[in-house]
Symmetry: C2
Subunit: 745 residues, 2 copies
């Protein structure tokens, strides 16, 4: 692909913005919202704040449309209760480096960020995290800084329990207690770098669907709505609430707004801990600032926010409470950004007065990395500096248990999705899924329907392709006769028509792939069951496939002059539908296995070509070499092709070679008809039977026998086609199950 | 496509970096190069400097490997001669806004940056530039700042003569003389946002090829090499010189290095004016700084550098000599960055002491844009401020003519590509192309060959596809017999084989598209003729197509048991090659018309499917309805299919239906052989001719007649196939001619 990896980013951003002439003013308005509101500066208690967010919003609360704003004070004053503290000690994580065999374009690694540029010893073991310790507190933003490959994303992954516990050494505790994986999933959220959202849903709808997935069923719809409205204000998305997300083909919200919507979908349940992997990447500085400002509000509403950031701007730095700067998996600085100048001054490399603090520090670290000694001296200095300047220690004595803390937090409105009765076994009391299976299926289907309804061109392209191919086939095979040539052409028509249905499905690959990414994101935090997604996906495809089948069948059936009257038409229609179904299941499955659009398309086209080759049209079953016969039976095209052939030729009263037509396909076709009649007579004598000019010599069943399509009857062909469709849906389910593991080894 | 426009940028960047574990140290080393070298600070005269760059580098100059470094002094002191001054007065440019009809994914707009977010009046006219004036000087960097859509890129385009002169109002002069378009092209360079480079060439090779294209033929190869070496040092690319550029699949240089190589390819001829559209976009701050540092060096070597930049970091700002800040096409500030605080203070909105100057200014401007009055007050204030603080006026008296100035510049080593005898008619003395046609063809071919040689997997995939399809066809159609069924299967084999060659070509679309982008970039500054690119592209495809043809023909010819012995094989081979040639020409043409990979692939697959449908295999020519016969003759697949059929069946001594085989395709095939013999006898009698069991009843020519492939003989089919290949190459040329216009209307 042209443009390369690095060059395109900002460019895309700009060209996208250029499609949106009214972007500037809106963003400017938001900026004003941000910069002016603080002047109101009304001091609220934490309880009040939390109440506003989650719990006590009445069904018709008019205040929910107000912008939710908190004190600007960077030194956050927790209320009377003990705040949450996430501590991590000596986190170490290393991987074995293997030579990659599969080309990178084949498997898309889902936003794991980076793992390169880290120390690698002789044995091929790379240490991605080397003895990292630290502490993050409620009400604060902790930011992990460092160059690409320094281990930023890895540290976030480690804290967010996205690294399998066998591989990760070290201890992570919340309020002194070791966190169970299941509990962490309930009280935390992880925001990926990619903004994977349905392009044609509005901001409000996107958040509302997220609420329907994640908030408990016991919560009333109006309270869910109130939560969404509060969140829209918290995210500063009021002016964009009714705007669709948008994509290349559709105007939508700005990049910064999209990122905030993304964050919103992940924090709909108001988690206690929020992890973000480079939330500001790809945004211009104003949008980036607004995103971090939103994160500050979230933190101040009673959450721990931990994010990685490549290089914060001066203004963003002022929002961060705590920094950890990594270099090749080691901590080179840890503390408040305010202490950065002091740190470097004591180290003996003071930051010049006019320089940007982080810019200077990161550049210096980079420079050190290039020296033979590396950053060892700085790492060592940091250790001694940490000893000298310990953080105001957490008073272990008065600390409440984690259970009590979470209970208190929930009672104050946090964790909208959590059940309120936190018993002794915390994690088991929290349901894994908010909704039962069928509700999930319905909500997923509704969302997918809303989205595709607003982008009718996606279906339009497929419909157009079916229409054009149908019309071309109808005209080129116009009113086929029942002569031997006509029979051959019927075979050709069926072969082409049946492969068309499959090829048309291939055009939906990009849509499937987008949905797949959203699926991976959403199931990673148990928004719904994998199975309900698969069922919903299948159900949603049926109406459009029916329309396509009907269009194709109506256009071709009578024009080509196919046999069987109404029942023949119905059977033909059902077969077209069945092969659309099997085809779309097959393509769906492949899009669950191959994540690169171009590669998926190429593979689908190639496999379908082989399916057609082995379908029995190019070479009949009885002539296929034995060692290939398995492929014949694997061919998805075989069954519908065979089915429609049987449907066409199974009428016993129909004759395809009558009397002297028998010579049409022989060298004698040029002989005058009288002589042909004479020939018939003489042959009758030899055979001892009377063959006149009206005797039927080849019936449909003869043709079926010749075509080698008699091994399976047409009803079985239909069931097999439908069953193959189901099989691929099941395989798709397993592909999702295997492919969507989101923990590192 | 998933991920959306804005989110992917930085992510890609990071994941790319993660593939490059050694990126960090190298960049760090560079950084050191940058930060340490200035300490040498040897003061040189301009003459010395220029000599180093271009002219006087001896063939074995050992100094050319040294880093080329200039004084750090931001206030550049020009030598005795009068420096170049580019002035522009009242530039105004507006466009009519039309509703776009073609979906954006179809036509890729080539890096024009932005045009949205600008004032649009009732009549649908958008004013992109509104009365912009200013001045850029040799030795300085002028930077155009502003939000997305403020008109940054448009201003750069206007100055670089990339807007047609009918649409652009205002005056642009160089040293007081109006610049001719042709002369500007010779003395300037425009660097696009995208880094379009051959991924498998090293940095050094990339620059060397650029030198071969752009530097005059009269210049010796060793002097070109010396120029490349000097440029490598100037760009700070010494450590990366032997590294390939790289892409997703291959490790290469870093994003910042890639950007500098991009700039290098454009300034190989040491232009007097350099225009850059957001050269730092998509780069991390360290890389961005290094890029601007390089630009400063280039300016100080005697050039005018004009660039757009979204938001410069603190350090980058210190390298810029002059800023123009735009808001919706109007100037809101113009002057040295040092005067920015003073400007805003006088305006009544002082920049707080600790704030980043540009960050603050741009945010404030954005805020103003959101207010009803807009930025009018600031625009007006700027006008009065400009009156009050005029730039130290250019002394018109002593100014030399443009001709003399350019001559002087050339004699001091600038403009390596320009001819040294600048006569009275400046622009006519400069040749448009540096090399004659055939040299261009050779150099382009050599570059393309070097690149593809290092990425053998691209050819490998196509070769693999041909191999696999060949083997499948060879085994499924293993040793076909000459019975009527065998004949039918031969037809099927040829139809499938001939379409395979076309489908295999479709896999090369991404490669064609990348090359196309590079082509647009390079021809925009007359690096070579469009025609030589088309010829070279065609020539380069031939060896690989020959290999593919040979592999396919060898695998299938004997296994399937095709007719004609050695001459038959040769003819088969030639036909396979011809259809590869026609197919690749067709795909090349389409990739010149459709710039979106996915769309191109879909269209190619669909058109090829229709070609196959109309080729004469599914329905013979005599049975195709009259109103479709034109499509039959348009079908690329018809001619090779017909050709190989004739080759197969034109042996008069060969018999396909002999004696009782005549009943094989009739209802009598089940009758015992004795009765069949009797039937033959009785038929002989009736017909009055003797048909025995060895009489040939159907020859090859009968089959050809039946298949309707006798309208054009096989040699004509061959020539038509080859000619169609040429036709599509010519169409490709015209597509390039029309598609690569790089001026705005």
């Amino acid at each position: 692909m042209p443009g390369g990896g690095s060059g395109g980013g900002e460019g895309d951003n700009l060209s996208m913005a250029s499609d949106l002439p009214f972007l500037g003013p809106r963003e400017a308005t938001e900026l004003q919202e941000f910069s002016r509101k603080p002047k109101r500066n009304v001091s609220r208690t934490l309880g009040e704040l939390l109440q506003r967010v989650g719990d006590s919003t009445g069904d018709n609360n008019p205040a929910s449309h107000q912008v939710f704003e908190v004190d600007h004070d960077p030194v956050y004053q927790p209320a009377a209760y003990m705040p949450f503290v996430l501590s991590f000690h000596n986190l170490t994580y290393s991987i074995k480096v293997r030579r990659k065999i599969i080309p990178s374009c084949f498997w898309r690694t889902v936003a794991h960020g980076s793992s390169g540029n880290v120390m690698e010893d002789k044995s091929g073991v790379k240490v991605l995290l080397n003895n990292i310790s630290g502490e993050a507190r409620e009400g604060e933003i902790m930011a992990v800084l460092g160059a690409s490959g320094s281990g930023k994303s890895t540290l976030i992954d480690a804290l967010a329990d996205r690294i399998s516990s066998e591989s990760l050494k070290g201890i992570i505790t919340l309020n002194g207690e070791i966190l169970e994986s299941k509990l962490l999933k309930v009280i935390s959220a992880y925001v990926m770098q990619d903004d994977l959202l349905f392009p044609m849903l509005t901001v409000e709808e996107t958040l509302m669907f997220s609420a329907e997935f994640r908030l408990p069923r016991t919560m009333s719809r109006s309270r869910k709505k109130a939560r969404v409205q509060a969140l829209i204000d918290q995210l500063g998305l009021r002016t964009a609430a009714k705007t669709v997300i948008g994509d290349e083909g559709h105007r939508g919200v700005s990049g910064g707004e999209r990122r905030r919507v993304s964050i919103g979908t992940d924090i709909i349940h108001d988690p206690i801990m929020l992890f973000l992997d480079e939330p500001t990447s790809g945004l211009d500085s104003t949008s980036a600032y607004m995103v971090v400002k939103v994160l500050q509000r979230i933190a101040q509403s009673g959450s721990i926010v931990i994010m990685s950031i490549h290089q914060p701007s001066y203004r963003i730095l002022s929002l961060l409470d705590r920094l950890i700067i990594l270099s090749r998996g080691q901590t080179v600085f840890s503390g408040s950004p305010v202490t950065l100048p002091e740190f470097f001054a004591e180290y003996g490399y003071p930051i010049p007065a006019n320089e940007d603090r982080t810019e200077f520090s990161l550049d210096y670290i980079r420079e050190l990395e290039g020296t033979p000694g590396g950053t060892k001296s700085l790492v060592d200095f940091n250790k001694s500096w940490q000893m000298k300047n310990p953080r105001i220690s957490h008073t272990n004595g008065t600390r409440r248990s984690l259970k009590d803390a979470i209970s208190a937090s929930i009672s104050m409105g946090k964790l909208v999705s959590g059940s309120s009765n936190v018993d002794s076994n915390l994690s088991s009391s929290v349901p894994i899924f908010a909704n039962p299976f069928w509700i999930e299926v319905l909500v997923i289907a509704k969302r997918s329907f809303t989205n595709s309804k607003r982008a009718p061109e996606l279906f339009g392209v497929r419909f157009g392709a079916v229409l054009v191919t149908g019309i071309i086939l109808a005209t080129i095979f116009w009113k086929l006769d029942n002569t031997p040539k006509g029979v051959q052409e019927r075979l050709g028509f069926f072969a082409f028509a049946m492969s068309t249905t499959f090829y048309t499905c291939a055009e939906a690959i990009p849509v499937f792939l987008l949905q797949r990414y959203i699926f991976v994101r959403e199931t990673s935090y148990n928004a719904y069951r994998r199975s309900s997604y698969v069922v919903s996906h299948a159900l949603m495809s049926i109406p459009s496939l029916l329309v396509l089948s009907l269009a194709f069948a109506v256009i071709t059936y009578w024009s080509v002059g196919l046999a069987g009257g109404t029942s023949g038409f119905l059977f033909f229609l059902i077969f077209i539908f069945a092969s659309f179904w099997a085809g779309s299941s097959f393509v769906t499955f492949l899009s669950g296995v191959i994540f690169n659009v171009m590669m998926a398309y190429t593979v689908v086209v190639a496999i379908l070509a082989y399916f057609v080759l082995f379908s029995g049209f190019f070479i009949t079953r009885d002539r296929i070499p034995n060692y290939w016969i398995w492929f014949h039976y694997l061919s998805l095209v075989k069954y519908p092709f065979q089915g429609v052939l049987q449907n066409e030729f199974d009428d016993p009263s129909k004759c395809f070679v009558r009397g002297i037509q028998v010579f049409d396909s022989s060298p004698l076709r040029a002989v005058p008809d009288e002589i042909k009649l004479k020939l018939l007579k003489s042959m009758s004598k030899t055979l001892g039977m009377n063959i006149t000019s009206s005797t039927c010599l080849t019936t449909g069943s003869d043709i079926l026998k010749q075509s080698g399509v008699t091994d399976i009857d047409k009803w079985s062909c239909l069931w097999i086609t439908v069953a193959l469709g189901f099989l691929f849906r099941i395989l798709f389910y397993f592909a999702l199950l295997i492919g969507s593991k989101n923990k590192r080894k």
